[in-house]
Protein backbone atom coordinates (compact mmCIF):
# COMPACT_ATOMS: atom_id res chain seq x y z
CA UNK A 1 0.00 0.00 0.00
CA UNK A 2 1.18 3.52 -0.71
CA UNK A 3 1.17 6.40 1.75
CA UNK A 4 -2.20 7.80 0.70
CA UNK A 5 -3.84 4.48 1.41
CA UNK A 6 -4.59 3.58 -2.20
CA UNK A 7 -3.16 0.48 -3.67
CA UNK A 8 -1.14 0.74 -6.85
CA UNK A 9 -0.47 -1.94 -9.41
CA UNK A 10 2.07 -2.32 -12.11
CA UNK A 11 2.48 -5.11 -14.57
CA UNK A 12 5.22 -7.41 -13.25
CA UNK A 13 8.31 -7.28 -15.47
CA UNK A 14 9.06 -10.11 -17.90
CA UNK A 15 12.33 -11.04 -16.21
CA UNK A 16 11.89 -11.16 -12.46
CA UNK A 17 15.50 -10.76 -11.40
CA UNK A 18 16.29 -7.05 -11.52
CA UNK A 19 20.02 -7.46 -12.19
CA UNK A 20 19.54 -10.05 -14.92
CA UNK A 21 16.92 -7.79 -16.46
CA UNK A 22 19.25 -4.80 -16.68
CA UNK A 23 22.07 -7.02 -17.88
CA UNK A 24 19.99 -8.35 -20.75
CA UNK A 25 18.45 -5.00 -21.71
CA UNK A 26 21.75 -3.15 -21.34
CA UNK A 27 23.70 -5.81 -23.20
CA UNK A 28 21.14 -5.80 -25.98
CA UNK A 29 21.33 -2.03 -26.30
CA UNK A 30 25.14 -1.97 -26.37
CA UNK A 31 25.19 -4.71 -28.97
CA UNK A 32 22.69 -2.84 -31.10
CA UNK A 33 24.76 0.36 -30.98
CA UNK A 34 27.94 -1.51 -31.85
CA UNK A 35 26.23 -3.39 -34.67
CA UNK A 36 24.79 -0.22 -36.13
CA UNK A 37 28.22 1.39 -35.91
CA UNK A 38 29.56 -1.47 -38.05
CA UNK A 39 27.25 -0.34 -40.82
CA UNK A 40 29.47 1.78 -42.99
CA UNK A 41 26.93 2.84 -45.49
CA UNK A 42 28.18 4.66 -48.49
CA UNK A 43 25.16 6.92 -48.76
CA UNK A 44 26.22 8.32 -52.10
CA UNK A 45 26.47 4.83 -53.53
CA UNK A 46 23.15 3.90 -51.98
CA UNK A 47 21.55 7.02 -53.47
CA UNK A 48 22.81 6.09 -56.90
CA UNK A 49 21.59 2.56 -56.23
CA UNK A 50 18.07 3.76 -55.60
CA UNK A 51 17.82 4.75 -59.24
CA UNK A 52 19.02 1.32 -60.28
CA UNK A 53 16.67 -0.28 -57.79
CA UNK A 54 13.78 1.66 -59.26
CA UNK A 55 14.78 0.58 -62.75
CA UNK A 56 14.81 -2.97 -61.51
CA UNK A 57 11.37 -2.69 -59.92
CA UNK A 58 10.06 -1.24 -63.16
CA UNK A 59 11.52 -4.11 -65.15
CA UNK A 60 9.16 -6.42 -63.28
CA UNK A 61 6.37 -4.67 -65.14
CA UNK A 62 7.93 -5.55 -68.48
CA UNK A 63 9.81 -8.80 -67.94
CA UNK A 64 11.67 -10.01 -70.97
CA UNK A 65 11.14 -13.73 -71.45
CA UNK A 66 12.04 -13.74 -75.12
CA UNK A 67 15.55 -12.47 -75.76
CA UNK A 68 17.23 -15.07 -73.52
CA UNK A 69 14.37 -17.53 -73.89
CA UNK A 70 16.45 -20.63 -74.70
CA UNK A 71 18.83 -19.92 -71.78
CA UNK A 72 15.94 -19.54 -69.35
CA UNK A 73 14.28 -22.71 -70.62
CA UNK A 74 17.53 -24.61 -70.35
CA UNK A 75 18.14 -23.37 -66.82
CA UNK A 76 14.66 -24.29 -65.71
CA UNK A 77 14.93 -27.77 -67.20
CA UNK A 78 18.26 -28.28 -65.47
CA UNK A 79 16.81 -27.10 -62.19
CA UNK A 80 13.75 -29.33 -62.50
CA UNK A 81 15.68 -32.45 -63.47
CA UNK A 82 18.17 -31.87 -60.66
CA UNK A 83 15.27 -31.48 -58.26
CA UNK A 84 13.56 -34.72 -59.26
CA UNK A 85 16.66 -36.92 -59.38
CA UNK A 86 18.15 -35.50 -56.18
CA UNK A 87 14.90 -35.90 -54.26
CA UNK A 88 14.48 -39.53 -55.35
CA UNK A 89 18.12 -40.42 -54.69
CA UNK A 90 18.11 -38.54 -51.40
CA UNK A 91 14.96 -40.30 -50.19
CA UNK A 92 16.38 -43.72 -51.11
CA UNK A 93 19.49 -43.10 -49.03
CA UNK A 94 17.63 -41.31 -46.24
CA UNK A 95 15.36 -44.22 -45.33
CA UNK A 96 18.07 -46.63 -44.11
CA UNK A 97 20.05 -43.81 -42.50
CA UNK A 98 16.93 -42.44 -40.85
CA UNK A 99 16.10 -45.88 -39.44
CA UNK A 100 19.67 -46.20 -38.22
CA UNK A 101 19.49 -42.79 -36.58
CA UNK A 102 16.42 -43.72 -34.51
CA UNK A 103 17.50 -44.47 -30.96
CA UNK A 104 14.67 -46.91 -30.24
CA UNK A 105 15.38 -49.27 -33.12
CA UNK A 106 19.08 -50.00 -33.51
CA UNK A 107 22.21 -50.79 -31.55
CA UNK A 108 24.24 -47.92 -30.14
CA UNK A 109 27.19 -47.97 -32.62
CA UNK A 110 24.89 -47.91 -35.67
CA UNK A 111 22.90 -45.11 -34.09
CA UNK A 112 26.01 -43.02 -33.51
CA UNK A 113 27.29 -43.66 -37.04
CA UNK A 114 24.01 -42.60 -38.66
CA UNK A 115 23.64 -39.57 -36.39
CA UNK A 116 27.16 -38.59 -37.40
CA UNK A 117 26.29 -38.76 -41.10
CA UNK A 118 23.15 -36.69 -40.50
CA UNK A 119 25.04 -34.07 -38.48
CA UNK A 120 27.68 -33.80 -41.20
CA UNK A 121 25.08 -33.41 -43.96
CA UNK A 122 23.33 -30.67 -42.02
CA UNK A 123 26.23 -28.65 -40.71
CA UNK A 124 27.53 -27.10 -43.94
CA UNK A 125 25.56 -24.49 -45.90
CA UNK A 126 24.49 -26.02 -49.21
CA UNK A 127 26.40 -23.44 -51.24
CA UNK A 128 29.67 -24.49 -49.66
CA UNK A 129 28.85 -28.15 -50.35
CA UNK A 130 28.14 -27.12 -53.94
CA UNK A 131 31.52 -25.38 -54.24
CA UNK A 132 33.26 -28.58 -53.26
CA UNK A 133 31.23 -30.81 -55.53
CA UNK A 134 31.89 -28.44 -58.42
CA UNK A 135 35.60 -28.54 -57.64
CA UNK A 136 35.51 -32.35 -57.65
CA UNK A 137 33.03 -33.21 -60.40
CA UNK A 138 33.30 -30.21 -62.68
CA UNK A 139 30.73 -27.52 -63.54
CA UNK A 140 27.17 -28.46 -64.36
CA UNK A 141 24.03 -30.07 -62.98
CA UNK A 142 25.71 -33.30 -61.88
CA UNK A 143 27.49 -31.43 -59.07
CA UNK A 144 24.17 -29.77 -58.27
CA UNK A 145 22.45 -33.14 -58.15
CA UNK A 146 25.01 -34.38 -55.63
CA UNK A 147 24.67 -31.24 -53.50
CA UNK A 148 20.91 -31.49 -53.31
CA UNK A 149 21.05 -35.23 -52.62
CA UNK A 150 23.51 -34.65 -49.79
CA UNK A 151 21.33 -31.98 -48.21
CA UNK A 152 18.18 -34.05 -48.67
CA UNK A 153 19.79 -36.85 -46.67
CA UNK A 154 20.55 -34.55 -43.75
CA UNK A 155 17.04 -33.17 -43.73
CA UNK A 156 14.91 -36.25 -44.37
CA UNK A 157 16.97 -38.73 -42.33
CA UNK A 158 16.89 -36.47 -39.29
CA UNK A 159 13.15 -35.86 -39.42
CA UNK A 160 12.43 -39.50 -40.23
CA UNK A 161 14.49 -40.58 -37.23
CA UNK A 162 12.54 -38.17 -35.05
CA UNK A 163 9.25 -39.50 -36.41
CA UNK A 164 10.35 -43.05 -35.64
CA UNK A 165 11.42 -42.09 -32.14
CA UNK A 166 8.00 -40.53 -31.56
CA UNK A 167 5.84 -43.41 -32.76
CA UNK A 168 3.22 -44.68 -30.36
CA UNK A 169 5.08 -47.08 -28.16
CA UNK A 170 2.00 -49.16 -27.32
CA UNK A 171 1.65 -50.27 -30.96
CA UNK A 172 5.30 -51.28 -31.11
CA UNK A 173 4.97 -53.18 -27.86
CA UNK A 174 1.88 -55.00 -29.12
CA UNK A 175 3.63 -56.19 -32.28
CA UNK A 176 6.72 -57.15 -30.30
CA UNK A 177 4.51 -59.22 -27.98
CA UNK A 178 3.35 -61.37 -30.92
CA UNK A 179 6.90 -62.62 -31.37
CA UNK A 180 7.60 -60.57 -34.48
CA UNK A 181 11.16 -60.25 -35.79
CA UNK A 182 12.95 -56.90 -36.14
CA UNK A 183 12.07 -56.59 -39.82
CA UNK A 184 8.42 -57.49 -39.15
CA UNK A 185 8.32 -54.95 -36.34
CA UNK A 186 9.55 -52.32 -38.79
CA UNK A 187 6.97 -53.34 -41.38
CA UNK A 188 3.93 -53.71 -39.09
CA UNK A 189 4.42 -51.27 -36.24
CA UNK A 190 6.74 -48.52 -37.50
CA UNK A 191 6.01 -48.21 -41.22
CA UNK A 192 2.24 -47.63 -40.90
CA UNK A 193 2.88 -44.92 -38.35
CA UNK A 194 5.61 -43.00 -40.19
CA UNK A 195 4.65 -43.57 -43.85
CA UNK A 196 2.43 -40.47 -44.18
CA UNK A 197 5.16 -38.40 -42.59
CA UNK A 198 7.77 -39.86 -44.94
CA UNK A 199 5.72 -39.12 -48.04
CA UNK A 200 5.07 -35.63 -46.68
CA UNK A 201 8.78 -35.10 -46.17
CA UNK A 202 9.52 -36.24 -49.71
CA UNK A 203 7.03 -33.78 -51.18
CA UNK A 204 8.25 -31.00 -48.93
CA UNK A 205 11.83 -31.72 -49.91
CA UNK A 206 10.90 -31.65 -53.61
CA UNK A 207 9.75 -28.11 -53.05
CA UNK A 208 12.86 -27.10 -51.06
CA UNK A 209 15.19 -28.73 -53.58
CA UNK A 210 13.79 -26.63 -56.39
CA UNK A 211 14.42 -23.45 -54.40
CA UNK A 212 17.94 -24.59 -53.59
CA UNK A 213 18.58 -25.52 -57.22
CA UNK A 214 18.02 -21.87 -58.07
CA UNK A 215 20.84 -20.88 -55.71
CA UNK A 216 23.63 -23.35 -56.22
CA UNK A 217 23.86 -22.33 -59.86
CA UNK A 218 25.57 -19.17 -58.61
CA UNK A 219 28.65 -21.23 -57.76
CA UNK A 220 28.53 -23.22 -60.98
CA UNK A 221 26.40 -26.22 -60.05
CA UNK A 222 23.95 -25.82 -62.94
CA UNK A 223 20.34 -24.74 -62.94
CA UNK A 224 18.47 -21.49 -63.26
CA UNK A 225 20.72 -19.70 -60.74
CA UNK A 226 23.53 -19.60 -63.27
CA UNK A 227 21.25 -18.03 -65.87
CA UNK A 228 20.15 -15.43 -63.35
CA UNK A 229 23.68 -14.50 -62.39
CA UNK A 230 24.68 -14.10 -66.03
CA UNK A 231 21.69 -11.83 -66.63
CA UNK A 232 22.57 -9.64 -63.66
CA UNK A 233 26.22 -9.47 -64.67
CA UNK A 234 25.12 -8.16 -68.06
CA UNK A 235 22.73 -5.69 -66.37
CA UNK A 236 19.85 -7.31 -68.26
CA UNK A 237 17.29 -6.44 -65.61
CA UNK A 238 14.32 -7.32 -67.79
CA UNK A 239 15.64 -10.85 -68.26
CA UNK A 240 16.51 -11.13 -64.57
CA UNK A 241 12.99 -10.04 -63.69
CA UNK A 242 11.61 -12.67 -66.03
CA UNK A 243 13.74 -15.35 -64.40
CA UNK A 244 12.69 -14.29 -60.90
CA UNK A 245 9.05 -14.36 -61.93
CA UNK A 246 9.49 -17.86 -63.32
CA UNK A 247 11.16 -18.98 -60.07
CA UNK A 248 8.44 -17.45 -57.91
CA UNK A 249 5.78 -18.99 -60.14
CA UNK A 250 7.23 -22.50 -60.04
CA UNK A 251 7.94 -22.32 -56.30
CA UNK A 252 4.40 -21.16 -55.59
CA UNK A 253 2.95 -23.84 -57.81
CA UNK A 254 5.18 -26.55 -56.32
CA UNK A 255 4.36 -25.41 -52.81
CA UNK A 256 0.62 -25.45 -53.29
CA UNK A 257 0.69 -28.81 -55.09
CA UNK A 258 2.92 -30.32 -52.41
CA UNK A 259 0.85 -28.96 -49.54
CA UNK A 260 -2.34 -30.28 -51.14
CA UNK A 261 -0.79 -33.68 -51.68
CA UNK A 262 0.51 -33.73 -48.11
CA UNK A 263 -2.91 -32.93 -46.74
CA UNK A 264 -4.37 -35.68 -48.93
CA UNK A 265 -1.82 -38.20 -47.65
CA UNK A 266 -2.69 -37.37 -44.04
Amino acid sequence: MTADGRRSWRRPPLIADRRLRWLIYGGGLIYLVLALATLEVNWLRAWEGLGRGWAFVQSFLRPDFASRGPDILNGIIESLTMTVTATVAGMLVSVPIGIGAARNLVARPIYLLCRGIVALARALPEVIVAIFFVAMFGFGPFAGFLTLTFNTIGFVAKLLAEAIENVEHAQVEAIRATGASWAQLLNYAIQPQVMPRLIGLGLYRLDINFRESAVIGIVGAGGIGATLETALDRYEYDTAAAILLVIVGIVTLAESVSSHLRRWVQ
Partner: protein, 277 residues
Protein backbone atom coordinates in the same frame (compact mmCIF):
# COMPACT_ATOMS: atom_id res chain seq x y z
CA UNK B 1 -4.79 -84.00 -15.00
CA UNK B 2 -1.56 -82.28 -15.73
CA UNK B 3 0.02 -81.17 -12.48
CA UNK B 4 2.55 -78.67 -13.92
CA UNK B 5 1.21 -75.13 -13.61
CA UNK B 6 0.66 -73.32 -16.91
CA UNK B 7 2.76 -70.46 -15.61
CA UNK B 8 5.11 -70.29 -12.68
CA UNK B 9 6.82 -67.14 -11.46
CA UNK B 10 9.56 -67.49 -8.85
CA UNK B 11 10.89 -64.59 -6.81
CA UNK B 12 10.62 -62.01 -9.58
CA UNK B 13 12.37 -58.71 -8.92
CA UNK B 14 12.36 -55.66 -11.16
CA UNK B 15 14.39 -52.62 -10.34
CA UNK B 16 14.23 -49.79 -12.89
CA UNK B 17 17.30 -47.80 -13.78
CA UNK B 18 15.84 -44.93 -11.77
CA UNK B 19 16.27 -47.10 -8.70
CA UNK B 20 12.56 -47.58 -8.29
CA UNK B 21 11.74 -51.14 -7.23
CA UNK B 22 8.58 -52.14 -9.08
CA UNK B 23 8.55 -55.81 -8.08
CA UNK B 24 10.08 -57.02 -4.84
CA UNK B 25 10.16 -60.79 -5.13
CA UNK B 26 6.86 -61.91 -6.61
CA UNK B 27 6.02 -65.64 -6.73
CA UNK B 28 2.90 -66.94 -8.40
CA UNK B 29 1.60 -70.08 -10.11
CA UNK B 30 -1.29 -70.22 -12.54
CA UNK B 31 -3.00 -73.56 -13.15
CA UNK B 32 -4.11 -74.60 -16.66
CA UNK B 33 -7.35 -72.89 -17.54
CA UNK B 34 -7.26 -70.63 -14.51
CA UNK B 35 -8.18 -66.95 -14.76
CA UNK B 36 -6.33 -64.75 -12.28
CA UNK B 37 -7.31 -61.15 -11.65
CA UNK B 38 -4.49 -58.93 -10.42
CA UNK B 39 -5.71 -55.89 -8.50
CA UNK B 40 -3.87 -53.12 -6.72
CA UNK B 41 -3.43 -49.36 -6.69
CA UNK B 42 -1.75 -47.71 -9.66
CA UNK B 43 2.01 -47.99 -9.39
CA UNK B 44 1.77 -51.29 -7.52
CA UNK B 45 3.63 -53.06 -10.33
CA UNK B 46 0.75 -54.78 -12.14
CA UNK B 47 1.90 -53.68 -15.59
CA UNK B 48 5.51 -54.48 -14.83
CA UNK B 49 4.54 -57.95 -13.65
CA UNK B 50 2.87 -59.06 -16.86
CA UNK B 51 5.51 -57.38 -19.03
CA UNK B 52 8.19 -59.28 -17.18
CA UNK B 53 6.46 -62.52 -18.16
CA UNK B 54 6.84 -62.01 -21.93
CA UNK B 55 9.98 -59.96 -21.31
CA UNK B 56 8.79 -56.73 -22.89
CA UNK B 57 10.33 -55.53 -19.65
CA UNK B 58 13.54 -57.27 -18.63
CA UNK B 59 13.30 -58.59 -15.04
CA UNK B 60 16.23 -57.84 -12.75
CA UNK B 61 16.18 -61.30 -11.18
CA UNK B 62 13.88 -64.26 -10.66
CA UNK B 63 12.59 -66.94 -12.98
CA UNK B 64 9.49 -67.34 -15.14
CA UNK B 65 8.34 -70.71 -16.52
CA UNK B 66 5.73 -71.23 -19.22
CA UNK B 67 4.90 -74.89 -18.65
CA UNK B 68 8.36 -76.43 -18.56
CA UNK B 69 10.03 -73.71 -20.59
CA UNK B 70 12.08 -71.18 -18.67
CA UNK B 71 11.28 -67.85 -20.33
CA UNK B 72 13.89 -65.93 -18.39
CA UNK B 73 16.65 -68.07 -19.93
CA UNK B 74 15.74 -67.28 -23.54
CA UNK B 75 17.04 -64.71 -25.96
CA UNK B 76 16.81 -63.74 -29.63
CA UNK B 77 14.88 -66.13 -31.83
CA UNK B 78 13.98 -68.51 -28.99
CA UNK B 79 12.44 -65.61 -27.07
CA UNK B 80 10.38 -64.60 -30.11
CA UNK B 81 9.19 -68.21 -30.47
CA UNK B 82 8.15 -68.19 -26.82
CA UNK B 83 6.41 -64.82 -27.21
CA UNK B 84 4.16 -66.12 -29.93
CA UNK B 85 2.80 -68.63 -27.38
CA UNK B 86 1.77 -65.76 -25.10
CA UNK B 87 -1.06 -63.52 -26.27
CA UNK B 88 -1.30 -60.01 -24.91
CA UNK B 89 -4.23 -57.60 -24.71
CA UNK B 90 -3.55 -53.96 -23.95
CA UNK B 91 -5.08 -51.12 -22.02
CA UNK B 92 -5.44 -48.62 -24.86
CA UNK B 93 -5.88 -51.48 -27.36
CA UNK B 94 -2.47 -50.78 -28.97
CA UNK B 95 -3.75 -51.52 -32.44
CA UNK B 96 -1.64 -50.31 -35.32
CA UNK B 97 -4.12 -47.65 -36.22
CA UNK B 98 -3.27 -47.17 -39.84
CA UNK B 99 -3.51 -50.86 -40.68
CA UNK B 100 -6.83 -52.54 -41.43
CA UNK B 101 -8.65 -54.68 -38.91
CA UNK B 102 -7.63 -57.81 -40.82
CA UNK B 103 -3.97 -56.81 -40.91
CA UNK B 104 -4.09 -56.20 -37.19
CA UNK B 105 -5.53 -59.63 -36.53
CA UNK B 106 -3.04 -61.26 -38.90
CA UNK B 107 -0.20 -59.47 -37.12
CA UNK B 108 -0.83 -62.06 -34.39
CA UNK B 109 0.73 -64.56 -36.82
CA UNK B 110 3.97 -62.64 -37.32
CA UNK B 111 5.94 -65.01 -35.13
CA UNK B 112 4.92 -67.92 -37.38
CA UNK B 113 5.55 -66.58 -40.89
CA UNK B 114 8.63 -65.44 -42.77
CA UNK B 115 9.34 -61.76 -43.23
CA UNK B 116 8.60 -62.02 -46.92
CA UNK B 117 5.18 -63.56 -46.30
CA UNK B 118 4.28 -60.86 -43.83
CA UNK B 119 5.71 -58.09 -46.01
CA UNK B 120 3.64 -59.10 -49.04
CA UNK B 121 0.63 -59.80 -46.78
CA UNK B 122 0.41 -63.33 -48.23
CA UNK B 123 -0.36 -65.29 -45.09
CA UNK B 124 -1.02 -69.07 -45.26
CA UNK B 125 -4.70 -69.86 -46.02
CA UNK B 126 -5.11 -71.47 -42.59
CA UNK B 127 -4.10 -68.19 -40.94
CA UNK B 128 -6.58 -66.26 -43.04
CA UNK B 129 -9.32 -68.73 -42.21
CA UNK B 130 -8.51 -68.53 -38.50
CA UNK B 131 -8.52 -64.74 -38.64
CA UNK B 132 -11.95 -64.72 -40.24
CA UNK B 133 -13.25 -67.19 -37.66
CA UNK B 134 -11.93 -65.00 -34.84
CA UNK B 135 -13.48 -61.89 -36.33
CA UNK B 136 -16.76 -63.79 -36.47
CA UNK B 137 -16.34 -64.85 -32.84
CA UNK B 138 -15.79 -61.27 -31.66
CA UNK B 139 -18.54 -60.01 -33.96
CA UNK B 140 -16.52 -57.83 -36.33
CA UNK B 141 -16.60 -59.80 -39.56
CA UNK B 142 -18.14 -56.98 -41.57
CA UNK B 143 -15.41 -54.57 -40.43
CA UNK B 144 -12.51 -56.71 -41.71
CA UNK B 145 -11.27 -54.18 -44.28
CA UNK B 146 -11.83 -51.04 -42.26
CA UNK B 147 -8.91 -49.18 -40.84
CA UNK B 148 -8.47 -49.79 -37.13
CA UNK B 149 -8.79 -46.11 -36.27
CA UNK B 150 -12.29 -46.07 -37.77
CA UNK B 151 -13.63 -48.32 -35.00
CA UNK B 152 -15.13 -47.46 -31.62
CA UNK B 153 -13.32 -48.26 -28.37
CA UNK B 154 -15.17 -51.49 -27.71
CA UNK B 155 -14.69 -52.67 -31.30
CA UNK B 156 -10.99 -51.88 -31.14
CA UNK B 157 -10.57 -53.97 -28.03
CA UNK B 158 -12.35 -56.83 -29.80
CA UNK B 159 -9.73 -56.57 -32.55
CA UNK B 160 -7.08 -56.63 -29.82
CA UNK B 161 -8.60 -59.83 -28.46
CA UNK B 162 -8.70 -61.41 -31.93
CA UNK B 163 -5.07 -60.46 -32.51
CA UNK B 164 -3.99 -62.09 -29.27
CA UNK B 165 -6.01 -65.24 -30.05
CA UNK B 166 -4.61 -65.43 -33.58
CA UNK B 167 -1.33 -66.38 -31.95
CA UNK B 168 -3.02 -69.58 -30.69
CA UNK B 169 -1.52 -68.79 -27.33
CA UNK B 170 -1.01 -71.02 -24.31
CA UNK B 171 -1.39 -68.03 -22.01
CA UNK B 172 -3.09 -64.66 -22.15
CA UNK B 173 -1.66 -61.56 -20.51
CA UNK B 174 -4.27 -58.86 -20.22
CA UNK B 175 -3.37 -55.36 -19.10
CA UNK B 176 -6.31 -53.24 -17.90
CA UNK B 177 -8.52 -54.29 -20.82
CA UNK B 178 -11.37 -52.01 -19.83
CA UNK B 179 -9.61 -48.89 -18.57
CA UNK B 180 -10.34 -46.95 -21.74
CA UNK B 181 -13.95 -48.09 -22.08
CA UNK B 182 -17.32 -46.98 -20.72
CA UNK B 183 -18.83 -49.17 -17.97
CA UNK B 184 -21.23 -51.07 -20.19
CA UNK B 185 -18.68 -51.83 -22.90
CA UNK B 186 -16.18 -52.73 -20.18
CA UNK B 187 -18.55 -55.39 -18.89
CA UNK B 188 -19.14 -56.78 -22.38
CA UNK B 189 -15.42 -56.98 -23.07
CA UNK B 190 -14.70 -58.68 -19.76
CA UNK B 191 -17.47 -61.18 -20.42
CA UNK B 192 -16.11 -61.89 -23.89
CA UNK B 193 -12.57 -62.40 -22.64
CA UNK B 194 -13.62 -64.72 -19.83
CA UNK B 195 -15.98 -66.70 -22.08
CA UNK B 196 -13.24 -67.25 -24.63
CA UNK B 197 -10.75 -68.28 -21.95
CA UNK B 198 -13.20 -70.83 -20.59
CA UNK B 199 -14.08 -72.16 -24.07
CA UNK B 200 -10.41 -72.78 -24.79
CA UNK B 201 -9.32 -73.62 -21.24
CA UNK B 202 -6.84 -70.79 -21.69
CA UNK B 203 -5.09 -69.57 -18.55
CA UNK B 204 -5.04 -65.79 -18.20
CA UNK B 205 -3.70 -63.04 -16.00
CA UNK B 206 -5.89 -59.94 -16.02
CA UNK B 207 -4.67 -56.68 -14.52
CA UNK B 208 -7.70 -54.77 -13.48
CA UNK B 209 -8.21 -51.74 -11.31
CA UNK B 210 -11.99 -52.11 -11.03
CA UNK B 211 -12.49 -54.42 -8.01
CA UNK B 212 -16.20 -54.79 -8.59
CA UNK B 213 -15.71 -55.84 -12.19
CA UNK B 214 -13.02 -58.29 -11.13
CA UNK B 215 -15.29 -59.85 -8.54
CA UNK B 216 -17.94 -60.38 -11.16
CA UNK B 217 -15.85 -62.33 -13.65
CA UNK B 218 -12.75 -63.80 -12.04
CA UNK B 219 -12.47 -66.69 -9.61
CA UNK B 220 -9.04 -65.99 -8.16
CA UNK B 221 -7.67 -62.64 -7.08
CA UNK B 222 -4.07 -61.59 -6.51
CA UNK B 223 -3.60 -58.32 -4.65
CA UNK B 224 -0.43 -56.39 -5.37
CA UNK B 225 0.80 -53.50 -3.31
CA UNK B 226 4.12 -51.72 -3.78
CA UNK B 227 5.61 -54.66 -5.69
CA UNK B 228 4.61 -57.35 -3.19
CA UNK B 229 1.73 -59.83 -3.22
CA UNK B 230 -0.40 -59.04 -0.17
CA UNK B 231 -3.42 -61.18 -1.07
CA UNK B 232 -3.88 -64.38 -3.07
CA UNK B 233 -7.08 -66.32 -2.83
CA UNK B 234 -10.53 -67.07 -4.16
CA UNK B 235 -12.90 -64.22 -4.76
CA UNK B 236 -14.99 -65.04 -1.69
CA UNK B 237 -11.97 -64.43 0.57
CA UNK B 238 -11.62 -60.85 -0.65
CA UNK B 239 -13.14 -59.08 2.37
CA UNK B 240 -12.75 -55.56 3.68
CA UNK B 241 -9.64 -56.49 5.62
CA UNK B 242 -8.02 -57.82 2.44
CA UNK B 243 -8.99 -54.75 0.45
CA UNK B 244 -7.53 -52.54 3.16
CA UNK B 245 -4.30 -54.49 2.94
CA UNK B 246 -4.20 -53.89 -0.83
CA UNK B 247 -5.50 -50.35 -1.16
CA UNK B 248 -5.11 -48.88 2.30
CA UNK B 249 -7.77 -47.43 4.57
CA UNK B 250 -11.15 -46.71 2.94
CA UNK B 251 -14.78 -47.25 3.88
CA UNK B 252 -15.21 -50.40 1.83
CA UNK B 253 -18.82 -51.04 2.81
CA UNK B 254 -19.99 -47.78 1.26
CA UNK B 255 -17.80 -48.22 -1.79
CA UNK B 256 -19.37 -51.61 -2.37
CA UNK B 257 -22.87 -50.41 -1.79
CA UNK B 258 -22.35 -47.60 -4.23
CA UNK B 259 -20.79 -49.96 -6.73
CA UNK B 260 -23.62 -52.42 -6.30
CA UNK B 261 -26.14 -49.67 -6.95
CA UNK B 262 -24.16 -48.61 -10.01
CA UNK B 263 -24.00 -52.19 -11.21
CA UNK B 264 -27.73 -52.67 -10.85
CA UNK B 265 -28.26 -49.55 -12.89
CA UNK B 266 -25.76 -50.59 -15.55
CA UNK B 267 -27.25 -54.06 -15.82
CA UNK B 268 -30.63 -52.51 -16.14
CA UNK B 269 -29.47 -50.24 -18.92
CA UNK B 270 -27.87 -53.18 -20.66
CA UNK B 271 -31.06 -55.18 -20.43
CA UNK B 272 -33.12 -52.33 -21.78
CA UNK B 273 -30.78 -51.88 -24.64
CA UNK B 274 -30.82 -55.59 -25.37
CA UNK B 275 -34.57 -55.35 -25.43
CA UNK B 276 -34.50 -52.54 -27.91
CA UNK B 277 -32.35 -54.47 -30.38
Amino acid sequence: MNRTPALRIADLVKRYRTGEEALKGVSLAVAPGEIVGVIGPSGAGKSTLIRCINRLVEPTSGRVFLGDLELTALSGRALRRARRRIGMIFQEFALVERLTVMENVLSGRLGYVSFWQSFTRRFPPADIERAFALLERVGLIEHADKRADALSGGQRQRVGIARALAQEPDLLLIDEPTAALDPKTARQIMRLICEICRERRLPAIINIHDVVLAQQFVERIVGLRAGTIVFDGPIEALDDAALTRIYGEEDWTTVRQRAAAGRAWALDAERLEGFAE
